[in-house]
Amino acid sequence: MNLRRDVFQAIADPTRRAILLLVASQSMTAGAIAANFDTARPTVSKHVQILTECQLLEQEQNGREIYYHLNANKLKEIADFIEPFRKMWDDRFNTLEAVMKNYQAGK
């Protein structure tokens, strides 16, 4: 596989978003993650691999098991990237709402 892995590609997929939600509360092995999905285990493993490659998941070795946990800093990077764009529209629409409330009151 020679695909460029970036965080935006990673979170575009609903299964991968579900995995992130799952490991947000506690570290889990790949097997434990897969047990939460109806999807075939190799498919879930592939998703875990993609999330790990783009650093949204981090691995930690515990005895013979590898546990996965969420890399919150990486996640924040994505949230912050779209947030200014969202904020710009939110401000614009808040102004629209205020202008129209005034308009309504003035009638």
Partner: protein, 155 residues
């Protein structure tokens, strides 16, 4: 708290969707897009032309804090009061290609309405570029503030 404005942008797609719920009756929300004087107020722009009909077009102009004028224009393909506006949007004198906008207006209740705005770009790259614009501006502003603080510090 539930966010009033939501952005949906899947990776590697050349589109994005902006959804906003308003604490306004549908007719008032639509009017904000229809009347030039009101558009000027909330968009902070001059409305040079706004022809609300099929084959119509619009032309806006904003002036930035440096006094530079920026032109925006587009063609209106559909104008169905209280329901839908389909139009193009072009930022003049920028490398951004024209984009296609589908605005759907919807009544939620007597006093609440929703706007779903779907924007289609020439390429996924163009979409990401536009998404990053406020992000980049934010960084620039922070940088400029920092520079200002630093230069004042030296004086």
């Amino acid at each position: 708290m539930e966010r009033k404005t939501k952005i949906h942008a899947e990776d590697n797609r050349q589109e994005l969707t902006i959804t906003r719920d308003f604490d306004l009756p549908l007719a008032l929300l639509f009017k904000a897009y229809e009347e030039p004087g009101i558009v000027e107020q909330w968009m902070g722009t001059r409305v040079l032309k706004l022809e609300n009909r099929k084959h119509g077009s619009y032309q806006f102009e904003t002036t930035d804090p440096m006094g530079n004028k920026h032109g925006f224009n587009g063609t209106i393909h559909e104008f169905i009061p209280n329901r839908r506006i389909t139009r193009t949007f072009e930022m003049e004198n920028t490398p951004f290609p024209v984009q296609l906008e589908f605005l759907e207006f919807e009544e939620l209740s007597a006093g609440n309405s929703r706007l779903v705005m779907k924007i289609v770009f020439k390429t996924p790259g163009d979409r990401d570029q536009l998404l990053k614009l406020p992000f980049a501006q934010g960084i620039n502003m922070a940088h400029n503030r920092l520079q200002k603080v630093m230069s004042e510090d030296r004086e």
